[in-house]
């Protein structure tokens, strides 16, 4: 605004990146400028990495063969979990967009990409490259091992592929650069210290109260007992959780997808939505989980469709109602603006209605992540695959294995939180403009 006697207040934007002569400290400051957005991505990347490492540990055929559980807990479904974990981790690290550029970082990104390719090949196409190089039967990587299995080649192949995981972990750490982000984490921790403190206090009180009042274990086990049990049984819980999570996820996709599409159609035709919305709100008030036994009757208890159906039904109505609300509660002036341009309905939908409905849709999706986990677990209480988390909880509780049941509940919470985090990360990327994500 040079040459004019005008000086409006400067916008409260982040300061521009530092001058070309960047010292490391300056670079760190530059990173911190972008922190709020990337903190969620860091969390997701870390959680995914943790997941991938746990799964890698659990999918080693030799390791599982030699544990006392035998091959019973060898679960091939963990391999996809690991691959997805790694891909989510890589995606979150890339989406966080660090401003620092360096050849080492480029090399790390390429290495991570190659490991991902290796894993995807092994899992999706069944082509294990290290096994192929040593002439190991590909089926050995997927089937349960017995004493008769020739293990020499397999062991060599696994030894060969083990460094790949370490390379991936190193690449992730290089991409993540935790040391440049310490101030971000301390600030986040400082903001959350009250919550952390209360969490720790609750655990201590829990532990102390049980010792003090001599509460029996079948009523409420101590946190330390639960933690010990968790350490023992987490391999099968992670895989049981994955089986249940898949039902939750596909139910979520089907339910929310159908809900959003129906909501869009309903919002387009006002009469239709007026007729549909009261019914939808009414149905939404029904405890839908109550029809889980009927779903088992329709699809068969062992068929995942009965669980996916419940989750889809649970998530359909919130998604649909929020979509209709979002699409129809558009700012009147914004709509008039479109009329002054003589915009067609499709343009109004794409450029105005959909963006302004996104906050509504995403708040419904976030509620639905929790709903879908509830639906998937509880529907297993009424019968279903023995490989699911709901079955585990019911079984453990029925056999007086309460610490194990609590561990299963903890795993269910972890899956639910991860699911929620992923959806809110998508929200953050699609709605970075929204008021709730603005830096103070």
């Amino acid at each position: 605004m040079t040459g004019q006697p005008i000086s409006f207040t400067a916008p409260t934007a982040p300061t521009p990146p530092a001058a070309p002569t960047v010292t490391l400290a300056r670079a760190v400051d530059a990173v911190v400028q972008y922190d709020g957005r990337t903190l969620a991505f860091d969390l997701i990347a870390l959680a995914a990495l943790f997941f991938a490492v746990v799964c890698w540990h659990l999918t080693n055929p030799l390791l599982t063969f030699e544990t006392q559980f035998g091959s019973a807990f060898r679960n091939v479904t963990l391999q996809p979990v690991m691959a997805i974990g790694l891909l989510v981790c890589a995606g979150a690290l890339i989406a966080a967009r660090r401003p620092i550029r360096h050849p080492v970082i480029g090399a790390a990104a390429i290495a991570l990409g190659l490991v991902c390719v290796y894993m995807v090949l092994a899992i999706v196409l069944g082509v294990n490259l290290s096994g192929l190089a040593l002439g190991v039967e590909p089926a050995l990587f997927r089937e349960r091992l017995t004493d008769a299995t020739p293990r020499d080649g397999l062991g060599a192949a696994l030894t060969l592929s083990a460094p790949l995981v370490w390379i991936a972990v190193a690449a992730i750490i290089i991409l993540w650069q935790p040391w440049t982000r310490l101030s971000v984490y301390t600030r986040a921790a400082r903001r959350q210290w009250a919550a952390l403190l209360i969490g720790v206090l609750v655990l201590l009180l829990w532990e102390g109260a049980i010792a003090l009042f001599q509460i029996q274990e079948f009523l409420l086990p101590r946190p330390s007992v639960i933690a010990a049990a968790f350490g023992e049984v987490y391999p099968r819980l992670v895989s049981a959780g994955w089986n249940t999570f898949q039902n939750a996820f596909w139910g979520f996709v089907v339910g929310c997808g159908a809900g959003i599409v129906t909501g869009m159609v309903a919002a387009r035709f006002v009469g239709f939505s007026r007729a549909l919305l009261p019914i939808a709100i009414g149905i939404n008030a029904i405890p839908i989980i109550a029809i889980a036994p009927l779903m088992n009757n329709w699809f068969g208890a062992l068929n995942p469709a009965s669980k996916i159906g419940i989750v889809a039904l649970l998530t359909f109505f919130p998604a649909m109602i929020s979509t209709v609300r979002g699409l129809t509660s558009v700012d009147a002036l914004s709509l008039e603006l479109m009329h002054t341009y003589a915009a067609r309905p499709l343009a109004i939908f794409r450029k105005l209605r959909l963006p302004s409905a996104l906050p509504f849709i995403f708040s419904a999706l976030k509620v639905c992540t929790t709903l879908s986990m509830i639906g998937a677990i509880v529907s297993e209480y009424f019968g279903g695959s023995t490989a699911g988390l709901g079955f585990r909880i019911r079984d453990d509780a029925g056999l007086f294995r309460y610490p194990e049941a609590w561990s299963a509940i903890f795993i269910a919470a972890l899956y639910g939180i991860l699911f929620y985090l992923v959806v809110s990360a998508v929200e953050r990327t699609l709605m970075a403009w929204h008021v709730s994500f603005r830096e103070p």
């Binding site: 409006f8 207040t9 603006l337 002054t340 450029k351």
Partner: protein, 272 residues
């Protein structure tokens, strides 16, 4: 009504016997506007002024074809108001900036161009030109919330001008701004109007000083039902600037508008 010397050629906007009756929720009829007749020449800057509820915004919205008239006609360069809207003859600036918060400043300015099917390169070029006209070039990648109220309103003016409409309709665009900012924005608007050669502006306001300072004619309206009380020619010299506000003629004209607003006989003893 004061006959205007400017209206000699065919008017770009001709409003004939226009009335508007709203039906309220309890079934009563409210006469918002009654028998409005107004001719506006090409390139004029018209200010519509009146107390709250006199229907000045309603009149502007009917010209823009955002609401239909009850009786009477609006002709815009020989077409109906609806045809003119569909031909994209109007740019409209609302009282609030009404920027889309999910779009950056430049994407907001490009919005009408996207809808009207301009090519990507032309959109960028035009939006850049308009942003430099309102002197916000360095803010093109900011989001609306990062701008002050005055800056947001300038973005919305740039957006209204991006497709070079023949007529700019402004509904109390600076009503929410403080007095200092408003005076600066008035100067900006006159500069922009000068740059957009031959553009006709209808400007709704409830500030007397603003109406006199900006316009070539002030249309004073009276309420219940909304009528044109008087049309006052503003013969202040152009270009106008801060010193214009100190002219004796300026004080004279503002007091004439004030009298007309009070519904009394306006400016008795004036030389017209």
């Amino acid at each position: 009504m004061t006959p205007s010397s400017i209206v000699t050629a065919a008017p770009i906007i001709a409003i004939k016997n226009l009335s508007k009756t709203f039906r309220t929720a309890d079934g009563a009829d409210v006469h918002a506007l009654d028998s409005i007749n107004l001719d506006i020449a090409d390139g004029e800057f018209i200010a519509l002024i009146g107390p709250s509820g006199c229907g000045k915004s309603t009149l502007l919205r009917m010209v823009a074809d955002l609401i239909p008239p009850s009786t009477g006609t609006i002709t815009v360069s020989g077409k109906t108001a609806e045809k003119a809207r569909k031909d994209r003859d109007y740019g409209f600036v609302f009282q609030s900036a009404t920027l889309y918060e999910w779009r950056t400043v430049i994407k907001n300015v490009e919005l009408p161009l996207e809808i009207m099917g301009y090519s990507k390169d032309e959109r960028r070029a035009r939006a850049r030109a308009m942003l430099s006209l309102v002197e916000l070039s360095e803010f093109e990648d900011k989001y609306p919330w990062q701008l002050s109220g005055g800056m947001q309103q300038r973005v919305s003016i740039a957006r209204a001008l991006a497709f070079e409409p023949r007529i700019l309709l402004m509904d109390e665009p600076f009503g929410a701004l403080d007095e200092m900012t408003r005076e600066r924005m008035n100067n900006e608007l006159l500069r922009i109007w000068g740059a957009m050669q031959g553009m006709t502006v209808i400007f709704v306001t409830h500030s007397i000083a603003e109406a006199v300072y900006l316009s070539s004619r002030v249309v004073v309206m009276s309420p219940r039902p909304g009528r044109i009380a008087e049309i006052i020619d503003i013969d202040l010299p152009r270009p106008r600037g801060t010193e214009t506000r100190d002219l004796e003629r300026f004080f004279h004209l503002t007091s004439r508008v004030r009298h007309a607003l009070r519904g009394g006989v306006s400016g008795g003893g004036m030389n017209e």
